[in-house]
Subunit: 205 residues, 2 copies
């Protein structure tokens, strides 16, 4: 709020609430993660932001739009950040490690958004659902491509690519259920241990 903004960034936004969209989504995610979607009202959110409900409705016509936007935004951000992290790596082993660690770092930074995505049972509206499904598919596709690359390079065994992708994402995604930022290990440290485990396996050589 008190960071100076260039005129370009202000353009088209009401002068009272710069960066409003991102701030609303951050505060809403924190609220939903804390007390659930159904138990959170637009009034609660407006109070938390210190603005009127009318100001919120200017950006998001309904609470459902806020919820849907959180999920689409977090999926988009996750994919972009992980893809950027992969850019400099060649082998499947290193690419898988970067994928898992970048995912964990992003998850920890946007923990409330991930928790909102996990608890979001009430369901997204159809318009957003297609976007979210496309982003999720892209992301899973990126991971499967790494596993397939490893098999092709013969650094990985001939595993079932879909199963391996699911296994990796299950470990990372389930963290939204038990991990709390700031309590114990970083999410990245957890992901590094998961990486070692899934690559080397439990069995003694």
């Amino acid at each position: 709020m008190d960071t100076p903004r260039s005129p370009a960034r202000r353009q088209g936004r009401p002068p009272t609430l710069p960066d409003a969209r991102a701030r609303i989504l951050d505060e809403a995610a924190a609220l939903f993660a804390r007390q659930g979607y159904e138990n959170s009202s637009v009034g609660d959110l407006a109070a938390a932001l210190g603005v009127s409900k009318a100001a919120l409705y200017h950006y998001f016509p309904t609470k459902q739009d806020i919820f849907d936007s959180i999920i689409v935004d977090v999926l988009q951000g996750l994919r972009d950040e992980v893809a950027a992290e992969l850019a400099g790596a060649a082998g499947a082993h290193e690419r898988l490690r970067r994928f898992m660690l970048a995912h964990a770092r992003y998850f920890e930074r946007r923990w409330a958004h991930f928790v909102t995505m996990l608890i979001g049972f009430s369901g997204m509206r159809t318009a957003y659902r297609a976007d979210a499904a496309r982003l999720r598919d892209d992301y899973e596709g990126l991971l499967r491509e790494i596993v397939a690359q490893g098999i092709h390079e013969q650094s990985f065994r001939q595993v079932d690519v879909a199963t391996a992708g699911r296994a990796v994402l299950s470990m990372l995604n389930w963290m939204a259920r038990w991990y709390r930022p700031g309590a114990g290990d970083s999410a990245e440290a957890v992901a590094q241990r998961y990486f070692d485990l899934i690559v080397r396996g439990l069995a003694s050589p």
Copy 2:
């Protein structure tokens, strides 16, 4: 309802609704899994069961009691069934396989109960929460004990026991998010592939 019951089974139960408790929980789990906890009313549940709301309140004073009971029951059933399955096995490798496959079979059979447990954001009441936490800890303890046994037997590497336990449960628990019974592979077949992957790892020998 129309299955003949022995007099012993009827004892202490109102004559109008034999096996009422289990039937209520099954129907409630199906309802919660389908439309969410917050969106399901006791009236919806009574209608689905073909009984009055008063009849339901005889067994469960509140909707929250129904929800809490589903979670405690499914955790209790899971632990008992998996523990029974482990009884005949000796080595850690076979015990881990049985743990994962028995978990998956139980999950598939009681899918709606697991989904209810996963989506249950609104939170349990304190009295039940302690029971649920104890059951969950027991269950995780059982799995960790298998991993520790494998390390002791030297059939498993010197992995971090807590990480390995978390990884296995993450793969199995995340199935509540994507797996649908009757569409494709059995949950047991999925668990068998996860078992192969986590034991042998991705890397080529």
